[in-house]
């Protein structure tokens, strides 16, 4: 047993760190350091740089263009990329769609979609959640009726991240409403977002940003060849996709970057004649976060290493620990940053305002962004399976209660 990185792992980390330092466009890094989420073009630009290097497809097998990294290497890359901070590769393209096509797709589908997904030539979104189907995904209603060599899709999806950017959508639809079990009537389709009958309506988040959407399907014709795996077997695909290796679910690098930046900012904030970073209560709060991050870091390496050894394809229930603790930490870091900002966290720093006026900004950008992140990331304990659902999973799969 040895918790230290091997010389090879150290060399790998240094290589990754150097590559990101030398290749990540400065403007992207700076915006993200201020707490903005990357713009579409930022993500595209960075993923293409990574793809050129062969690093965009971390979770794909080597024979399908993956870098062939160990679990530890994957964690190192994720953490370095998050700490940079750099945009994360499209999880829809890389973590979700890619492995699904590799596991269930036809050669035709692999050839057609994988390279473009790797290079983000196609921006994919995930058509899973519905107004009535959140935690209980299997209750989805969006219907696909067979009509010759097409499916005709009608229904509504919701909380669809970046649907307004997307070229394609992987969609869960009900192809057999009469199936004995709800899970048995579902199919997995690939849908061109330019197909007639698709309407995307924005949902503006509490931080004023536009990530989420409602997507309406009105007699949308999808070629049968765009179905992945067998008809009515889509639930197997969905389970594989959802259960698939949840490396990085803790987003620890992001938390580390947020705490580091909060400490930076605390140096610039003066209170009672000294900088906030010198305040005992603040230091204790940061120390607690760093302690929790250290524990989670080790737990994470333990889980992914064990998972790599086990490798029976089954999702590792202990990854639920990473999801819960990781999102609790991430939310705590956003709360810390907001509190560092203090009164300066109250104004909304609208980017357009800066461009529209040449007056000085309203407080430091990072402070107003901090509140945005605090508000937006309340969703972290909700998306990807609520933390309550994660505890249900632990109850069944680990405690066996």
């Amino acid at each position: 047993m040895d918790l230290r990185f091997t010389p090879e792992e150290v060399a790998f980390r240094d290589e990754v760190r150097a590559f990101i330092r030398d290749n990540l466009p400065v403007d992207i890094r700076e915006r993200m350091r201020l707490g903005y989420s990357p713009r579409k073009q930022d993500t595209v630009t960075w993923q293409r740089i990574l793809n050129k290097k062969g690093w965009a497809t971390m979770s794909w097998p080597k024979e399908h263009g993956g870098p062939g990294w160990t679990a530890v290497q994957k964690m190192i890359f994720l953490e370095e990329n998050q700490m940079a901070p750099a945009p994360e590769v499209s999880s829809f393209n890389i973590t979700m769609l890619g492995p699904v096509l590799i596991q269930f797709g036809t050669d035709e589908q692999k050839k057609r979609y994988l390279p473009r997904a790797a290079n983000l030539d196609d921006w994919w979104c995930q058509g899973f959640s519905e107004p009535g189907a959140g935690s209980d995904l299997a209750s989805l209603k969006t219907a696909a009726k067979r009509d010759g060599d097409h499916y005709v899709v009608n229904g509504q999806k919701i909380w669809t991240s970046t649907a307004h950017h997307a070229d394609w959508c992987f969609l869960l639809v009900r192809t057999n409403p009469n199936a004995a079990k709800r899970q048995e009537g579902i199919s997995f389709l690939l849908v061109d977002m330019k197909t007639p009958g698709i309407t995307v309506r924005p949902i503006i988040s509490i931080d004023g940003s536009h990530h989420l959407n409602e997507v309406f399907f009105d007699d949308v014709r999808v070629p049968v060849e765009n179905r992945v795996y067998e008809e009515n077997k889509g639930w197997d695909v969905a389970k594989f996709l959802l259960g698939n290796e949840r490396t990085g679910i803790a987003r620890l690098g992001k938390s580390k970057e947020r705490v580091a930046s909060a400490k930076e900012m605390a140096r610039t904030v003066r209170e009672h004649g000294k900088s906030l970073i010198e305040d005992q209560a603040f230091r204790a709060r940061v120390a607690q976060l760093e302690i929790d991050m250290k524990a989670l870091e080790i737990t994470q390496y333990r889980v992914v290493s064990a998972y790599e050894k086990q490798r029976d394809g089954r999702p590792d229930p202990l990854s639920s620990v990473l999801k819960v603790k990781g999102t609790e930490l991430l939310q705590a870091t956003t709360e810390l940053a907001m509190d560092v900002g203090g009164p300066m966290s109250m104004p909304i720093w609208a980017e357009e305002l800066a461009t529209l006026s040449n007056e000085p900004d309203v407080g430091p950008e990072w402070a107003t962004q901090a509140t945005g992140s605090y508000l937006f990331l309340r969703a972290a304990s909700i998306y990807g399976g609520t933390n309550e659902i994660q505890k249900n999973i632990l109850t069944k799969a680990v405690l066996r209660l």
Binding site: G132, M344, M346
Partner: protein, 335 residues
């Protein structure tokens, strides 16, 4: 010890609650936010008609001689609706500064105008570099032009953009961070040398950055050089009012979440049938009630003569209400 409301208070509470129910549904609020100033002038007149704008002022100044508990009842109702109008800035902050620091002449001039809705105030004390340091005042005031001349900048002044008059703190002596040497002035928001930049806060209330260069005023509130005590009274009144507002927010959040837990179905049953959801709602209820107790404490303490007692208890209330507020709101979002 007595927790019952007087008949007047029950009447007040009912009328404000009714107004909010009729006129401040969330979609109505959205419309008000889109109005020119970011809030509803129509509602403002309504508040005046109901006597809310003069509530805490003596009758001789067109007020109703209400106390902190009356303000608490109003702020709770406002909190449930998350109102956008400059009530806190005008009536509570500005109003307190004038009530406790204004000469009879000044009070006769300003308070009736507040009460009838024709004048709005803002409390311009905080500065960009000060954060939570009440004594960190770098804005200066020097004698000149038969009165005082103010120079400096104030930051995140709630509803400073729409205010007709500003209550401004400035240094008449001493150094940054000195407790003494701070003086409060009443300044015409349209006076020469006042520049304001308005913007929206996260809660969609309005605020402004205000710069003062060579601004003339002859109206001092409280004693020259002893303004800190008055600043603290104003902030204490503000904390008490916002504590009540927070209770209103928590009530709305808890009610909405409870309702949602009854109607939102997953896995074939309402999410409220999950014991963890039930206990979370119970814990939110407990936090809310503890917070309500703290809001009551703050209201009781606003007029406490002993400054130490007052400051200590209102500080306790501030911590308690803040913790309750975050717990309730975060879990409301989660559920």
């Amino acid at each position: 010890m007595d927790f019952s409301l007087s008949d007047e208070q029950r009447l007040l509470k009912d009328s404000v609650d009714r107004l909010m129910a009729d006129r401040y549904a969330f979609d109505q609020r959205k419309a008000y936010f889109k109005e020119a100033g970011g809030w509803s002038t129509a509602l403002w007149s309504q508040y005046a008609e109901l006597g809310l704008l003069g509530l805490p002022f003596a009758e001789e100044y067109g007020g109703f001689g209400g106390g902190a508990v009356d303000v608490m009842l109003v702020m709770e109702a406002f909190g449930r609706a998350l109102i956008l109008e400059p009530y806190l800035a005008t009536v509570v902050l500005g109003g307190t500064a004038l009530r406790l620091g204004g000469s009879d002449a000044v009070k006769s001039r300003v308070l009736p105008a507040i009460a009838d809705g024709s004048m709005k105030l803002a409390f311009a004390h905080g500065e960009r570099q000060a954060r939570y340091d009440v004594t960190d005042v770098m804005t200066t005031a020097r004698k000149g032009g038969g009165g005082w001349v103010l120079d400096g900048a104030k930051s995140v002044v709630t509803h400073g953009d729409c205010a007709d008059m500003l209550v401004v703190s400035a240094r008449t002596s001493g150094e940054r961070d000195d407790a003494s040497g701070i003086t409060l002035f009443l300044v015409d928001a349209k006076a020469n040398g006042v520049a304001r930049r308005g913007y929206t806060l996260r809660d969609e209330q309005r605020a402004a950055e205000i710069s003062l260069s060579g601004v003339q005023t002859d109206t001092v509130l409280g004693e020259v050089g002893n303004g800190l005590a008055l600043v603290e009274r104003v902030m204490e009144a503000g904390i008490a009012a916002m504590a009540a507002e927070s209770v209103g927010c928590m009530e709305a959040l808890h009610a909405m979440t409870l309702e949602y837990s009854r109607t939102r179905e997953q896995f074939g049953k309402p999410i409220g049938s999950n014991q963890v959801v039930q206990h979370r709602l119970a814990e939110m209820l407990m936090s809310m009630e503890q917070g309500r107790s703290m809001a009551m404490l703050a209201a009781m303490m606003v007029d406490e003569p002993d400054a130490g007692e007052r400051a200590h208890n209102i500080a306790m209330a501030k911590v308690g209400i803040g913790q309750a507020g975050r717990f309730v709101s975060q879990n409301a979002v989660q559920l």
